[in-house]
């Protein structure tokens, strides 16, 4: 979302930053952009040059006596560098690793000087609020969350993309109203709110208002504004594993709870999705989640357990099915898939047997075929081949 703002309206960011700098008396400002977003960098560079050319930036801005320079810092793309103190470390040329707080950046930030860190979207809102007044901004939204927010609606949704909405709409409004519901005729299962460190919200909570407090109560967060919609074919354990894979890899490695804890969570989730889960694994995960939340040094670690906690909270039965019955209810976990031919539907055309790369299918012409589960490597070729829909995945 922030990338879209920089690419399409960089001046709104520059203006917001300058106003903020003026307000707190800052003379130096940085935009920390991932080096992987070259278009954003090019456009921001041009906008900065243009602003400078018009003396809207730099020395003695418009003769006001106020000077402020904005520089771009292209980061190597580590997720944790979005954490404010890690970002400062990175700006200073150090390894992008969070610092202890306190002192907070407002006391001692960049080169130990008081600093303010805000999100691109926050700055982009500033000029609008000054032009239209705080009351106009506050008129939108709810008691606890004012104004608008941009979301990136993705996943199994009919119409995905960036949407800016006033706070207070329900999830249902966004997903089924704006997004048009689930694509390919699927059924809604859950929405992951707030990116990898957010949480998933199930069907029965679709009427939750988009509001910091209401979302927080579900175990999810507003976060970056990611909204990933999932249908009944998504395995919630696998989804949690996927997000943990991300956070474990992005952990900076500084603190114990996050460095080792997220790795262990990922290992446990992996074994569950492979049908090797053990009784007690869910409790072990919960224990890890709570401990990591309490002990991790920065936001990355403190929020990493959210996808696991929320999927356990709302989809415990899926965890249990994997662990106790070696079954993936969504039929997504490859190791737990079972391919079977329905003898009533099979016409004995032999096509699947010919396609199977490991010769796991046998049967006589015009007679129902069978799959040897010991040989089957779960490649799914048979399903794709059968014209009669006789191969079922269980």
């Amino acid at each position: 979302m922030d990338r879209a703002v920089i690419e399409s309206d960089p001046h709104s960011l520059i203006e917001g930053m300058l106003i903020a700098a003026y307000a707190i008396g800052a003379s130096k400002a940085f935009v920390y952009v991932r080096a992987e977003y070259p278009l954003a960098i090019v456009r921001l560079e041009k906008a900065l040059a243009d602003a400078k050319a018009h003396n809207l930036l730099g020395e003695n801005i418009l003769g006001s006596g106020f000077s402020c320079d904005i520089r771009i810092k292209a980061g190597a793309g580590a997720f944790v560098c979005g954490e404010e103190t890690a970002l400062i470390e990175s700006l200073e040329g150090n390894r992008g690793m969070p610092r202890l707080k306190p002192p907070f950046p407002a006391e001692k930030g960049y080169t130990q000087a008081p600093s303010n860190i805000n999100n691109v979207e926050t700055f982009a809102n500033v000029a609008w609020i000054i032009l239209n007044g705080g009351a106009a901004f506050a008129a939108m939204g709810t008691e606890t969350s004012k104004g608008t927010k941009v979301f990136a609606l993705t996943g199994k949704i009919k119409r995905g993309g960036l949407v800016e909405i006033p706070m207070g709409l329900t999830l249902r409004d966004v997903i089924f109203g704006i997004g048009g519901g689930i694509r390919d005729g699927g059924t809604f299962k859950a929405v992951q709110m707030g990116g990898p460190s957010g949480g998933c919200i199930p069907e029965h909570l679709l009427d939750t208002k988009i509001d910091y407090k209401a979302l927080g109560a579900t175990g999810a967060i507003m976060g970056s504004g990611g909204m990933v919609v999932m249908d009944s074919h998504t395995c919630m354990v696998n989804m949690a594993r996927f997000f943990l894979d991300f956070t474990a890899k992005e952990s900076c490695g500084k603190c114990v709870h996050c460095r080792i804890g997220t790795k262990r969570m990922h290992e446990i989730l992996t074994r569950i999705t492979e049908g090797k889960g053990k009784e007690g694994d869910v409790e072990l995960l919960q224990d890890l989640c709570n401990g990591i939340k309490a002990g991790a040094l920065c936001g990355l670690g403190q929020t990493a357990p959210n996808p696991v906690l929320t999927t356990i909270r709302y989809f415990r039965d899926e965890y249990d099915a994997h662990i106790r019955e070696a079954r993936c209810p969504a039929h997504e976990c490859a190791a737990l898939k079972k391919y079977e031919i329905d003898p009533a539907k099979c016409k004995g055309c032999t096509m699947c047997a010919k396609k199977c790369p490991v010769g796991a299918i046998s049967g006589e012409l015009k007679k129902p075929h069978v799959i040897d589960p010991a040989k089957c490597i779960k490649c799914g070729q048979c399903v794709a081949t059968c014209k009669f829909g006789a191969v079922a995945v269980k």
Binding site: S251, G253, V256, R259, I260, G261, K263, R264, A294
Partner: protein
């Protein structure tokens, strides 16, 4: 501002410290030690380990005590349930990712946890007197035990995964012999007298070890024994050719020299009853061993010429010259059977049979003992059980043997021998020695609680009996007869318990939490193979005619070379390691969060510093001291998340050039990851 005093409460204690002080430093002033692994006062906080977390009332988040500053009226709980749980989780995560051996497998597998690795190293360095002192930290009989111990330590020795274990037991007795010869044993310190009197029944390894320990702690100890000399089964069971009496005597004399009184030819139950004996002392240890041969329960056992194994061996030792004739059968397959058959050969029997109901593979005796018996001409009759001892005129003339075969495995996995119906064999004999086991003699000890087996019942941890101040250990208790070092292990615990009892307390042993590596041959594939020392022996033809010692002992050169094979498995930092100290403090479960290990390698050294990344907990202290105190900035973190390591690799010559060898990094490493070599 900074001098302004702030008052707060930590664990219920009121503390006043200057503003700006951290909770951790404030707690220290009140004598409260908050665990910490990545903090160093001079460097300030860092925040990595998360073990210093504390709970502060009205603060929703847990705080890191190393960085959080005190505030007026703050109420801090360093051991609240949540703080403890979070701290414990950090330590369990660290231990689950820790690939190190706190202690060598040898030491862990020794029932008495003798510090094998330490004395092996001392021998390697030629410090033989130090080696003996190290053994004597655990028990007083290195020359004797070194000769007879079946050495469970060697079974666990890591060198098994390379080619063959270190000759730990032989090294031990080499050192003891050498120091005795050189006369340079370190004196043993004895504490000032406590005025407490301890009476010990039984002068075997258990009783002697307890006496040795209690005397060092200043107690007035007297050991009573029914036999004319001390040593127990080491003297009256184990034959001279394995353990010369003179060597044992030198070691028991050294115990007496500490002030322990020995009273021999005194039998409890005969010369004094137990209750009376008890009344003479502040505390009592019963270590009367297992001195009754188990009966074979076959017809003919009452015949003249039938001996109990230990009775026969004792008779030989005391010079009774037992008449066993020319053809002798020993029944049994354990070490007593081996000692009996080889002794029978030595007292002149022409044909000696060992009758055992299973096969050689199942024999409980040490393999080397069986081989040596074979070399000395002993014949083995496997898969045979005594059916009846045949007699003529009240004397043994032979034995009928039931032929057996191996059936289903029992609960221990050993196949059970079952009779082959109707298949018998007869041998002509002059005597039969039943060496199928021995047990304690309860006579005279009726006051003591018994197990269903008839042994004395004692607590498995501190060896207390139900009678106050009465402890029991060794072959006489619980599971019954075992090996000498097992009896010694129990005696050490009993001695600690007696010491605590005499000081008005109670001793409850806690199993220490340790990190242990799980290794296979593959982990040692690149190690050079070095042959194990071979013990020189007298030839079988010569030794079978006398009782002189069979083994000739290692030379100092051979011993040192052998000791140098040691892989030094246990961690050099065990005494100082903060990680393991805190893991024990919070009772961390080292296995609960086991998973893949972080990348690790043992590197060549950096000038004088050796690093083992497998033990690194990434506290970053080395990186920080090198940058901030040594001003070299040589070290740094590389990689992300679980794959993070400290670089540069120490073998890098460029690194060696920068390092000024101040060793600050190694001195500040909280674990054994860095070592000054």
């Amino acid at each position: 501002m900074e001098s302004e005093l702030i008052t707060l409460e930590i664990d219920g204690q009121s503390v006043s410290v200057p503003a700006g002080t951290t909770i951790l430093e404030a707690a220290k002033t009140a004598g409260i030690d908050i665990p910490n692994l990545c903090y160093l006062k001079e460097l300030g906080p860092y925040g990595a380990c998360g073990v210093c977390v504390v709970e502060v009332e009205k603060c929703p988040k847990m705080l890191r005590a190393c960085s959080a500053k005190v505030a007026p009226g703050m109420v801090v709980h360093t051991k609240s349930e949540k703080a403890l749980a979070t701290r414990k989780l950090a330590l369990e995560l660290l231990m689950g990712d820790h690939d190190g051996d706190c202690q060598g497998p040898c030491k862990l597998n020794c029932p008495a946890h003798t510090d094998c690795q330490k004395y092996v190293k001392e021998i390697a360095e030629g410090r033989f007197a130090d080696a003996v002192a190290t053994v004597k930290e655990t028990f007083p009989l290195p020359a004797a035990i070194g000769r007879v111990c079946p050495h469970p330590c060697e079974k666990a020795c890591r060198r098994n995964l390379v080619e063959a274990p270190i000759s730990i037991a032989q090294l031990k007795y080499f050192a003891a012999d050498q120091v005795r010869k050189d006369g340079n044993e370190h004196p043993i310190k004895v504490a000032a007298p406590t005025g407490k009197k301890v009476g010990i029944i039984g002068g075997g390894p258990a009783g002697l070890t307890a006496a040795f320990k209690l005397a060092q702690w200043g107690h007035d100890v007297t050991v009573y024994d029914q036999m004319p000399e001390m040593g127990g089964m080491l003297r009256y069971g184990i034959p001279e050719y394995r353990l010369p009496k003179a060597i044992l005597k030198a070691e028991t004399d050294a115990i007496a020299a500490l002030g322990v009184q020995f009273i021999n030819n005194f039998k409890i139950g005969r010369d004094a009853d137990f209750a009376k004996f008890r009344s003479w002392f502040d505390a009592v240890i019963v270590a009367n061993g297992a001195w009754k041969s188990t009966s074979m329960r076959v017809k003919g056992e009452e015949l003249q010429g039938v001996w109990g194994g230990i009775d026969f061996l004792r008779a030989v030792v005391t010079g009774e010259k037992p008449e066993i004739g020319e053809r002798v059968a020993i029944v049994g397959g354990g070490n007593t059977a081996m000692d009996a058959c080889r002794t029978a050969v030595r007292v002149g029997a022409k044909e000696v049979f060992v009758v055992y109901r299973r096969t050689r593979k199942e024999m409980p005796a040490e393999d080397i003992e069986i081989t040596e018996a074979e070399e000395e001409g002993v014949k083995f009759k496997f898969l045979c059980a005594p059916d009846e001892i045949l007699g003529k005129d009240g004397k043994v003339c032979g034995m009928r043997l039931q032929v057996m075969e191996l059936g289903e495995p029992d609960e221990r996995g050993r196949r059970k021998p079952v009779p082959v119906p109707g298949k018998f064999e007869e041998i002509e004999l002059d005597s039969v020695i039943a060496a199928i086991g021995q047990r304690n003699d309860p006579e005279g000890f009726a006051d003591l609680p018994q197990t269903p087996k008839g042994t004395i019942a004692a607590d498995e941890g501190n060896f207390a009996t139900t009678l106050p101040g009465v402890f029991a250990c060794g072959d006489t208790v619980n599971k019954g007869a075992g090996i000498a070092i097992g009896a010694i292990a129990q005696a050490n615990e009993a001695a600690l318990a007696v010491n605590a009892y005499l000081r008005g307390g109670e001793y409850k042993p806690v199993k220490p939490i340790l990190s242990e590596r799980n290794l296979t041959e593959k982990d040692f594939a690149d190690r050079p193979r070095i042959a194990r020392a071979v013990m020189p022996q007298r030839p079988a033809e010569e030794r079978r005619h006398d009782f002189k010692e069979v083994n000739l002992g290692l030379s100092p050169e051979a011993a040192q070379a052998e000791a140098k094979r040691c892989l030094e498995c246990g961690c050099h930092d065990f005494e100082d390691c903060k990680l393991i100290r805190y893991a024990n403090l919070v009772q961390a479960d080292t296995q609960r969060l086991r998973g893949a290990f972080h990348p690790g390698f043992t590197e060549q050294k950096l000038v004088t510093i050796e690093r083992n990344q497998r033990k690194c907990i990434l506290c970053n202290l080395c990186v920080r001291v090198c940058a901030e105190q040594a001003k070299q900035g040589l070290l740094g973190l590389v990689g992300r998340g679980f794959k993070t390591v400290i670089k540069p690799e120490f073998k890098d010559p460029a690194a060696t050039a920068v390092c000024k060898d101040c060793r600050l990094c190694a001195e500040n490493c909280p674990t054994g990851a860095l070592r000054i070599v």
